[in-house]
C-alpha cells in the first residue's frame, strides 16, 4: 500500500456503504438528522413497532441511576432517556441532553418543556469526540442509537471516558448483529425493502432511512464494540443482546 493510499484510508470513513472523507461525514450525517428530526419519534415507533421504548427502558434499568446523580445523555436526540433520567435523579441531580445536531436538540427541548420537565435539564450542542465538559463530571453517560453516526468512534469513547467520574458507567445502546441467521435475513429484508419506503411515506425522505439501514450494517458488532470500549479504558465491560441481537446494550465502568 502506497503512502498516499494509507493517508487516504486514515482520512476516510463510512457514511452508510459509501466511503467518504472524515470531514464530509459530519455534514452528511447532520443533513440526515436535520431532515428527519420533526418525524423522528413517529418513525422510531413505526420502524421498531414501539419496541425502542422497551430498549430504552432496559438501558435506564441497567444504568443504576439514583437521586442526585449527574447524567449525560449523549446524542440524546428527542430526549426519551433524558425525560426518565430527569425524574429519577430528582431535584438534586442533573441531566445534560447533548446532541451535535441543533434540529434534534430543538425538537427534544420543545418536547421535554411541553411535558413540564425543566428543573434539572441542560441542553448542550456538542460533538461526542470533543465533549465540552471537565474531566470526571458525570456519574452516568448514555448514548442511544448515536455512536454509529460518530465519525471517529474511538475518539468519542475516549472523550466519554475522560468526562466520566471514577465509578461512573457508560451505556451504549446501539443496533448490532442479530444472533440467528434466519433473523438476519428477515431483518435485512425489512431494513432494505420496507424501511426506506416507510421513510418515504412518513418522513418524505427515503434516502435518510436507506442510510440508517446501511449505517447499522457498517457499525461494529458486539465483540468489536466491547474491545473498542476496553481500548478506550473502560473496565468490567459487558454487553447484552436485545431482541435477538438486533440491538445490544454495552456497559463499561471507569475506575
Amino acid at each position: 500500500m502506497s503512502a498516499q493510499d494509507q493517508d487516504h484510508q486514515d482520512n476516510s470513513t463510512h457514511f452508510g456503504y459509501q466511503t467518504v472523507d472524515k470531514t464530509e461525514k459530519e455534514s452528511k450525517v447532520a443533513s440526515v438528522f436535520h431532515s428527519v428530526a420533526a418525524q423522528y419519534d413517529v418513525m422510531n415507533d413505526l420502524m421498531s413497532f414501539g419496541v425502542h421504548r422497551l430498549w430504552k427502558r432496559f438501558t435506564i434499568d441497567a444504568s443504576g441511576v439514583r437521586p442526585g446523580n449527574k447524567v449525560l445523555d449523549l446524542a440524546g436526540g428527542t430526549g426519551d432517556l433524558t425525560a426518565k433520567f430527569s425524574q429519577l435523579v430528582g431535584k438534586e441531580g442533573q441531566v445534560v441532553l447533548a446532541d451535535i445536531n441543533s434540529s434534534m436538540l430543538n425538537v427534544g427541548r420543545d418536547k421535554l418543556r411541553d411535558r413540564g420537565l425543566v428543573q434539572n435539564i441542560d441542553y448542550v450542542q456538542a460533538n461526542a469526540q470533543h465533549l465540552p465538559f471537565e474531566d470526571n463530571t458525570f456519574d452516568v453517560i448514555t448514548i442511544a442509537f448515536g455512536l454509529r453516526n460518530v465519525t471517529d468512534k474511538d475518539e468519542a469513547l475516549r472523550s466519554m471516558y475522560r468526562v466520566l467520574k471514577p465509578g461512573g458507567r457508560l451505556l451504549v445502546l446501539e443496533f448490532s448483529k442479530p444472533e440467528q441467521e434466519l433473523l438476519t435475513k428477515a431483518y435485512d429484508f425489512y431494513s432494505f425493502n420496507i424501511l426506506p419506503k416507510m421513510g418515504e411515506l412518513v418522513a418524505k425522505d427515503g434516502e435518510s432511512y436507506q442510510y440508517l439501514a446501511e449505517s447499522i450494517r457498517m457499525h461494529p458488532n458486539q465483540e468489536t464494540l466491547k474491545e473498542m470500549m476496553e481500548t478506550a479504558g473502560f473496565e468490567h465491560t459487558t454487553f447484552k443482546n436485545l431482541t435477538g441481537g438486533i440491538v445490544a446494550l454495552h456497559k463499561g465502568y471507569k475506575f
Binding site: 432496559f58 434499568d61 439514583r66 425524574q87 429519577l88 430528582g90 431482541t243
Partner: protein, 205 residues
C-alpha cells in the same frame, strides 16, 4: 425484556388511574422522590415504584429503596382482606425492610383511589348507553355470581357426597378428635401395663 414491558404497562395504568381518580394525585406530594420496591415471588424481578413530580415511575431497578417488600401475590390479597401484617411477617410470608411508613403511605394512596367509571364511560359513549351498559353489567355480574355459587355447591356435593373424593373439614376434625382420644386411651393402657409388670416382678421376688 418482558420486565420492561410489564413495568411500562403498570406505569401507564397507575398514572391513568391517578388522573381519573376523584381524589386526584394529592397524596403523591408527601411521597416525592420516595422509592418502594416490591419483590413478588411469582415475578422473579423487582418492581420499583418511584414518585416524581406527581407521577409514578415503575422500573425494575432495586437499588437504594426507601422500603422494600418481599412477598407473593397471594399474600398481598390476604393482606388486603384482613390487615394481618404482623401475622404474615411471623409466618415468613411477608418481609419488610426499610421505612414501613413509606409502604403504608403507598398503600393508603392505593386505597384512596376513587374512580367514577360511569362518568368516564359516559364521556365516550354518552349517558343513556352508559346507564344501559351499567345495568347490563350488574345483571350479568349477578347471574355470573349465582352460576358460580351454583357450580361450587354442585361440585362440592359431587366430590364430597357422591364420589367421596374429598373429605369435609368436619369429618377431618372428628377423625383428629378420635385419634387424640385413642392416643390418650393407649397411653393409659401403657401405664396400666407398666404397673402390672412392676407388680408381677415384685411378686416373683
Amino acid at each position: 425484556m418482558y420486565q420492561q414491558f410489564i413495568c411500562a404497562v403498570l406505569e401507564s395504568v397507575i398514572n391513568k388511574a391517578l388522573t381519573l381518580s376523584l381524589n386526584g394525585n394529592k397524596g403523591l406530594s408527601s411521597l416525592d422522590q420516595k422509592c418502594l420496591v416490591v419483590q413478588l415471588s411469582e415475578l422473579g424481578f423487582p418492581l420499583s415504584f418511584i414518585i416524581c413530580d406527581g407521577k409514578v415511575l415503575v422500573t425494575s431497578m432495586d437499588e437504594h429503596p426507601d422500603c422494600s417488600i418481599h412477598t407473593s401475590i397471594k399474600t398481598l390479597v390476604e393482606l388486603k382482606k384482613d390487615q394481618q401484617v404482623t401475622e404474615l411477617i411471623k409466618q415468613d410470608k411477608l418481609n419488610i425492610v426499610g421505612d414501613i411508613k413509606v409502604a403504608q403511605q403507598f398503600a393508603q394512596l392505593a386505597e384512596t383511589l376513587d374512580i367514577d367509571w360511569q362518568t368516564e364511560l359516559a364521556k365516550h359513549i354518552g349517558d343513556v348507553p352508559t346507564f344501559k351498559l351499567t345495568q347490563l353489567g350488574k345483571k350479568l355480574a349477578n347471574k355470573l355470581g349465582f352460576a358460580a355459587r351454583q357450580i361450587e355447591a354442585d361440585s362440592t356435593e359431587w366430590l364430597v357426597h357422591e364420589k367421596r373424593l374429598v373429605v369435609p373439614r368436619s369429618e377431618i376434625s372428628s377423625f383428629n378428635l378420635q385419634v387424640s382420644e385413642l392416643d390418650i386411651r393407649t397411653e393409659a393402657l401403657t401405664e396400666k401395663f407398666a404397673k402390672l409388670n412392676a407388680l408381677l416382678s415384685d411378686n416373683k421376688e
